[in-house]
Every structure is written in structure tokens, then in C-alpha cells.
């Protein structure tokens, strides 16, 4: 079996499940340790480096890190990573501007246009402004932020949090032009930009064209448009009985908004059974916590109205059967009519590019989407890049941020005349955390505590208006309790084969039976000889070089390691050590591990 190369930054990166799961590779265990140390500003700045909007994401992130969290596999509940991120944002110093990158007075002469002021474009601006670019953003609405302000309701994301983090970027000297709708890409190209980035999102809500849809159009709304009208304060009320069609996160924002604007009987109607809902489990729970019914297996068939006034909707009650190839086929069991006064359609959204001429060199595919390279975010027209939801349809904020980082690298390379396909390599720092005979510089004991619960504002209070933030955030005690649940997966069990005397001490002490010493052989065969069979074969499996005494291999199934360090404490020859792996991520104009000088000249101190 081939020995594992732990000097490849991606091996240990995969062991840090949360960081691997995060599109922007946020260094989660490190910021959690910083919170535990009370260094909230450092935790915030570490977050900001990769995900740019810690305060916003600490409230609204889709949290790909949490299902990935090792703790989920161990005792069912992930560390409340997202809520801890909010703790860092809530408790940090008020003014972090001195720690932001210095912006050169003298510009580099390159002018870049970003279309749309959502999270993808803002990330591009954040990464390129410190390099001396002149950045202009065209935004068709009156305010920047994209879906972060016009789709996410205020009770989930207060405007002060949103505006502050957007302003950190705009105040770098970005030329933001709001109310500037682009209706011709050809015209934009004629303006002579050195490069253009399209971050226009997926602003077109899907229509549900069933019989009766247009009988009373004033009482049937497209979800994202309706949410935007609330953000614009064009809508401030809704009739009592509301049906929300769809079970994604937009549907959750719609139903909870409806509940605050006068809806007393609000139902979410889903075609599929609950496990197939697109909405995150916690958003479903939050909606149900606000007395909203979520009905599964209800497939809408028509809108009903009397005298031009919407009275209800008819649904088929269905059961789903899996066909060959995984497709679901429905069986209709019954039909039912649910009375209602208004309907909100939240069944998906698309990107749309009526404003890009098809003959200017930007290639489009059969679905009327531009052809975008997965790693460079380049279109077929040199100098034009696409990211965020505009690239491949709706994702979420954290993906838009990562798209922004990658596009910024491409834009920078393009403007410097370097090939955009050559992507800068990742790096890794690996440093022992040994402090003494049995002492490590991290909290290595396993804490069996259950996941900390969120505190919510009083239900009656919060349903009174759109402005009362529903989640109160963790207080310090709860935050500290939760930080101890983190398994410090970035503190790696680092093995030096030539030192091993095969005494079995590590194998005997390991509480989660990760380790095996076994004769070499083909990988499939060796896998079968592990002390406990792998239950997640997709998780990394470490194999040492042949050991000096017997030529056998030290194997480690990384899956459930709790990083308690007992193997290293029990190792008489220090063949095992606990070493912190720090994934070094390259950004535009920065090699892996490099950082911009700060505005105040103060060093960014982030290591815990």
C-alpha cells in the first residue's frame, strides 16, 4: 500500500472536516480556540480572511461545515460552528478598521468593473482593492448587498450588521453606482474596462403556471420578489391565511415574514417528503417554532377563486416511489382544497441574462447560461468572468464568497498578463503543540456535553415586527461550553515511522479504536484488517511507510479520531506527535500564507 504523504496540504485539510466542507476553507478549529481564549477580534479577523462576512454568515450561512463536523458522526450533533462565528462577530472590538488591509494611494492603473453588488462582487472588491486596482460596481437597486439585504429578512439579519460589513469593503475606495441597471453587455464592454466580473445573482423567481394562476394575480406572489418588496418597504401587510409553495430556505423566509406581517394561518406546502426538502433543518425548525405548519407530499394542481378573488388552492396528496435510476414517481392518493387569501411561490430561482448579447463572444449553453470555467470563472470572452449565483444558479452566500476569491485571483492574473489557468498552490504549516511531558497547547480532553441551544427572542415580541432579531446569539457561558465540544481536528496525530518500536501503546490507549498495525498488502486487503472496520470509507485513511522492526504498517482511520493526544502521550519514542496543521490559502496577489500589511501597521495576530 502506498504510504500517505502528509506533506501534501490536502491530506490534513481533509481531516479537518469543517474546513474541508467550507467552500472558503474557513479555519474553524482555530477560530473556535480563539473564542475560547476570549480573543474575539482575532477570531473575527481569522474568519474575515476566508469568508469576508463573519457577522452576516454567523447568522445566515447555509453551514456546509456542520453536517461535515466529526462530532456529528461521533454523537449525532455537530459543534454549533455558525453560532460561534456570530459570537466572534458580536463580541469583537467595535472598530476593526485598523486591522483591515492598507489600500495603496497610488493605483496600479487597472480599472475593473463588477456588475451587481452582492457577496461575490463584494469579495472580489475586498481582494483586489489592497492590490491597487480601481474598482467600480454597477448595482441596479438602491442599496448594495444583493440577496443579503433584499431577500434575507431583517429578523434574521439586522441591517446594522449587514451595512457594517459591506462598508468595510466599500470604504476601501470602491466606486459604487447604485440604481445603475445594465441592459447591454456590449455597451459595457465599450466603456473600456481592463476586466469585467458578472455577479448578478439568480434574481428570477420561478413561476407556477397552473390553472387559475392569473385569476387574481394581486394575491399570488413570487417569493423573492415579495421579500424584496418588503425590504423596499413597498409591502407591509398580508392577509390572514397564507400558503407558501415550496420547501427551500426562501420558502422559510417567506412564511416567517408572512407571520410577522399579519398572517395568522401560514402553511408551507411541499410536494416532497421532509428528508428531501431543500431548506436547512434548522430553518425548518425555526419556522415551526413560530407556529407555521409544514405539510409534506402536497402537490399543487390549481388555484381556486370566486368572482376574481383567490379563495384557495387544490392539492394532490401524493406518495413517492423510487424508480430505476433514482427518479421519483408520484402516486396520487387523494385531492384536498386548502382555503387561503394569498399564495407565495417559492419554488426556485434562476439566473437570467437578457442583457448579454449572444454575439459578443460570450458563449452560452443550452440552458441559456454562460459557459463558465469551474476553476478560473472565466467565460469564453477573455477578461470577462462570472461568479456567485450568476455562474451556475442558486447556491448560498459562502459559495459566492469563494467564487469571489477565485475570480479575484483570475482577474488579477489576467490584468497582470499571466495565464489564469495556472492556479497558485496551497501550502501547509505543521507545528508541534507539545508543551511538556503530558501537556499540549490545546484543550485535549473530550467534552461529552450536548450541543448548546440557541436563545430566541420572546415569540410574541418577535412576531410583532420584521425588525426584532429572532436569534439572540450565545452568551459567553454558552459559547465557552460549546467551544469545548470542538475536537480540534486540525491538531493532527503526526506519525514518524522510523521512530516506531511497535509497542502497541497507541493502539491500546486509543479510545475510538482508530489505529492498527498490520502487514503490508494491497490497499483493499489492508482496509479489511483494521481493528474496527471503516464505517465511512470516504474518510481519509493514513498508512505509514513499512515500520523498522517488522516491516508492518501503522494505519489510522481518521474518521472518528477525537484528537485527544493520548496516542502521542503514550508513545515512548515520540513517533506520534500532536502537530497543528494550518492550511495556507492563496488569494489574489498573495501567495499561500502571505497577508497584506494592515492599515495601522499593527500585525495580524491570529494563532491560538
Amino acid at each position: 500500500m502506498r504510504p500517505t504523504d502528509t506533506s501534501d496540504p490536502h491530506y490534513y485539510h481533509r481531516v479537518v472536516d469543517c474546513q474541508w466542507g467550507c467552500p472558503a476553507h474557513t479555519n474553524v478549529p482555530e477560530y473556535i480556540r480563539l473564542i475560547a481564549l476570549g480573543r474575539y477580534t482575532d477570531a473575527y479577523m481569522l474568519n474575515r480572511k476566508s469568508n469576508v462576512f463573519p457577522g452576516i454568515l454567523g447568522r445566515t450561512c447555509d453551514r456546509p461545515c456542520e453536517p461535515a463536523c466529526r462530532r456529528t458522526r461521533l454523537d449525532g450533533e455537530p459543534v454549533a460552528i455558525c453560532r460561534l462565528k456570530r459570537v466572534a462577530a458580536d463580541l469583537r472590538d467595535d472598530d476593526i478598521r485598523p486591522l483591515l488591509p492598507a489600500i495603496p494611494e497610488k493605483k496600479n492603473g487597472k480599472r475593473i468593473l463588477l456588475i451587481g453588488a452582492g457577496p461575490a462582487s463584494l469579495t472580489v472588491a475586498n481582494d483586489l482593492m489592497p492590490l491597487g486596482y480601481e474598482i467600480t460596481i454597477y448595482e441596479k437597486l438602491e442599496k448594495p448587498g444583493g440577496l443579503m439585504w433584499n431577500n434575507i429578512p431583517q429578523f434574521r439579519l439586522p441591517p446594522r450588521v449587514l451595512n457594517e460589513e459591506i462598508d468595510y469593503i466599500l470604504d476601501m475606495g470602491v466606486d459604487l453606482r447604485t440604481g445603475h441597471e445594465v441592459d447591454s453587455m456590449a455597451a459595457v464592454l465599450e466603456e473600456g474596462w481592463d476586466a469585467v466580473f458578472i455577479g448578478t445573482g439568480a434574481p428570477r423567481g420561478k413561476e407556477l403556471d397552473l390553472p387559475g394562476r392569473w385569476d387574481d394575480p394581486d394575491h399570488v406572489h413570487i417569493g423573492i420578489d415579495w421579500l424584496q418588496s418588503i425590504a423596499f418597504e413597498h409591502i407591509d401587510s398580508i392577509a390572514p391565511r397564507v400558503l407558501v409553495i415550496g420547501a427551500g430556505n426562501t420558502a422559510m423566509d417567506c412564511c416567517r415574514s408572512a407571520k410577522r406581517l399579519g398572517g395568522t394561518d401560514v402553511k408551507v406546502m411541499a410536494r416532497k417528503p421532509r428528508p428531501l426538502f431543500k431548506a436547512s433543518p434548522w430553518e425548518l425548525e425555526d419556522a415551526e417554532g413560530e407556529q407555521i405548519d409544514i405539510l409534506e407530499n402536497h402537490s399543487p394542481t390549481r388555484f381556486l377563486s370566486e368572482n376574481g378573488k383567490l379563495t384557495g388552492m387544490e392539492f394532490e396528496i401524493v406518495r413517492w416511489h423510487e424508480q430505476e435510476g433514482g427518479r421519483l414517481k408520484k402516486e396520487v392518493l387523494d385531492t384536498v382544497v386548502l382555503p387561503c387569501d394569498e399564495v407565495i411561490l417559492a419554488i426556485g430561482q434562476d439566473a437570467a441574462f437578457p442583457w448579454i448579447e449572444r454575439d459578443i463572444g460570450i458563449e452560452f449553453n443550452d440552458w441559456e447560461m454562460p459557459v463558465v470555467d469551474k476553476s478560473t470563472f472565466a467565460t469564453s470572452l477573455p477578461g470577462v468572468f462570472v461568479g456567485g449565483d450568476a455562474a451556475w444558479g442558486p447556491e448560498n452566500i459562502i459559495w459566492a464568497v469563494e467564487h469571489g476569491h477565485q475570480a479575484a485571483i483570475s482577474l488579477h492574473r489576467y490584468c497582470q498578463g499571466e495565464p489564469v489557468e495556472d492556479r497558485p498552490p496551497y501550502g501547509q504549516n505543521l507545528v508541534s503543540v507539545k508543551m511538556g511531558l503530558h501537556e499540549w497547547s490545546y484543550s485535549n480532553d473530550f467534552d461529552g456535553a450536548q450541543r448548546a441551544e440557541m436563545n430566541y427572542a420572546d415569540l410574541r415580541e418577535r412576531l410583532k415586527s420584521m425588525e426584532v432579531e429572532a436569534e439572540l446569539g450565545f452568551d459567553i457561558e454558552r459559547a465557552l461550553q460549546e467551544t469545548e465540544r470542538c475536537l480540534n481536528c486540525d491538531i493532527q496525530t503526526d506519525f514518524t515511522g522510523p521512530l516506531c518500536i511497535e509497542c502497541d501503546a497507541c493502539i491500546d490507549i486509543c479510545p475510538v479504536t482508530c489505529l492498527t498495525i498490520t502487514p503490508d498488502g494491497p490497499e483493499d486487503e489492508v482496509r479489511l484488517r483494521l481493528t474496527v472496520p471503516q464505517i465511512h470509507p470516504d474518510q481519509p485513511l493514513f498508512a505509514s511507510e513499512p515500520l523498522p522492526h517488522t516491516g508492518r504498517l501503522m494505519m489510522k482511520d481518521e474518521d472518528l479520531c477525537i484528537h485527544c493526544g493520548l496516542c502521542a502521550e503514550r508513545c515512548p519514542t515520540a513517533a506520534w506527535d500532536m502537530a497543528k496543521s494550518d492550511l495556507l490559502v492563496p488569494y489574489a496577489g498573495l501567495e499561500a500564507g502571505q497577508i497584506h500589511p494592515t492599515r495601522s501597521g499593527a500585525p495580524l495576530e491570529v494563532s491560538a
Partner: protein, 351 residues
Amino acid sequence: MSYITKPRVHHPALPTNSLGLTRRDYEGSMSTLCAGCGHDSITAAIIEAAWELELEPHMVAKLSGIGCSSKTPTYFLGKAHGFNSVHGRMPAIATGASAANRGLTYLGVSGDGDSLSIGIGQLCHAIRRNVNMLYVLENNGVYGLTKGQFSASADLGSTAKKGEVNRSEPIDPVLLALTLGCGFVARSFSGDKAQLIPLIKAGLAHDGFALIDVISPCVAFNDHQGSTKSYKYTRDHLEEAVAADFILPMAEITTSYEAGQGRTVEMHDGTRVRFRKVPEGYDPTDRDHAYAYLRDRAHVAEVPTGLLYIDTEDRAMHSVLGTVQTPLVDVGWDELCPGEDALAGIMERWR
């Protein structure tokens, strides 16, 4: 030794035995021995063997004397009975306990100091009485707890950590046990669990005194060049001479063997021992032959391991004494002490 205790959390796929227990349920408290001590591996092997045998922890008595080895019963079977005796006196306690309650499984753990110096007489007599117990002798050739003096099992010419040469002949517990008529004699190595675990299971199941001499390197004081009980030396010189499987009466034989390979020995209590590998012409039921073979291999500095000798006859203590099947602790007081009249009757027989 570590500052944190082993967390209770375990692998969710850890198998359970018929009692619903995982291996973790057979652990004791955290070891305080030096990191890398062979004794900790033996502890792990005992835990695995007890789990596989599906022993009920409360039906096991673990006994020990004094020394590093004798600390180890604390580290396994936390829910079993335990007795930490005076130095070298564990066999006497085990004999008494076994006499009083034959219903428990007895597991003695001792070291080369406890067994071959201060307690050698006790060991000899426990073997002679054929107490029904497994006696694990954790043999590292050195007094680790007092910082590295030669023990009675240190080989002639081997050196201490600072270079002094040992000028005394060693006592080999395997040869000693063979001489004394021990019915189950085995040798193994702490670094070879694949061999050690089945031997421990066989020793626990064996009806009578079972001795396993386990080479168990002392990482702190006897793991250097010049040592003949180091990890390196043991690995280079041990030879698995006899490979055997112990088959309980109820167990089905599932392993298939080619014709002419190995040999099955039927025991008096219905258990069977299947020898998978023995040296050419070796007879593991012939005491004299085993003795001669071991002496012969010692001359070429080879350390043969495995189940080296087994006696098929029933000569265990309770059988020899003719005691009742019911453990004496469960026999009613009136029956156990029938009173003055009965005593007078017995005395009358000797007049």
C-alpha cells in the same frame, strides 16, 4: 502516564458480545505505567480475551503481588473482584480463594521479581497444587519499579542500562513449570497480540494451573542494546514454535486444515486443542520432549513461543481434593460445619 483519563466515548461500530458489552466495558482505570510498557499491551490482550470469552466481569477474580506487573489488574476488568497481595504471596491468596469459591475465574498477574525471586516458593506450590487459575508472568528481566537492577530472569551476559554485565544464570519460568508438573505451559510476547490473545483465552479456559510467560519489554530500563528482553531483541530472536487453537466444547470447528497438517488433542473436559504448527517431531503432550527441545533452542539464543506443553489428564486441585462441585461459599453453614459430633466422628477414624 497521562494527565487526562481515557475518554469514555468509543467507536460507534465497536462490536458487542453476547452480554451486550464492548471491549471498552472490560477496561479498568487508566494505566500509570511508563508510556510504551509491554505490560500495557498484555493488559489490552487480557481485555480482548475476556471480551471474546464473554466472561461476566463479576465472575472473575484478579490477583497480583507487588511490582509494575502487579499494578496492572487495576487497568483491566474494573468490575471484577481484585486482591493485591503482599510481595510474592499472590499464589497463596489465589489458592485460598479458589478453594473457597471454585465458581470464579482466577487470573493472577505477576512479574519476574514477584514470581522468580521473593515469590518463587509460592509459585512452585501453586503449580504443584494445580490451582485452577491463569498465571500471567510479565517477564521483562529487570526490576523496573526500583530503577533497573537485574532480575532473576535476566540472561547471562545481558547488560543493564548503564552497561553492567549480568553474571548470574537466569531462571526460566517455562522450564521451571515443566519440571514442577505444570499442565499448561506457554510463552508469548507482549508485542504479538495475535498469538497472545488466544493463549490467554486458552489459559483461562484450561482446567488447572496455566502459566503464560510473556516477554514484556521495560521501555524505561531494559529496552537498550545489550538487553535480551528489548522489543528489538525479542523480535529478532523469537520463533513461534507451536501454534495452537483452543476449542471450547460447545464450539464448532470452522477452520479447515489440510490433511496431514497439525493435530488435535482431546482434553479430559471435552475441550480440544488444535495444533496448527509444531516443529518437526515435536510432541506438545510429551513433557520430557518439550523440556529437551527448549534447552536445545536456548543454546542458539532462540526464544520459542506458543503453547509449548499441555497435559490432557485431570489433576486440578479440586479434583485431587475431591471437593464438592458446589463452591464452598455456597454450601450452607450447617453442612460446611456439621458440628462437634461430626468432628468427633472424624477424629474417631484416626484412633
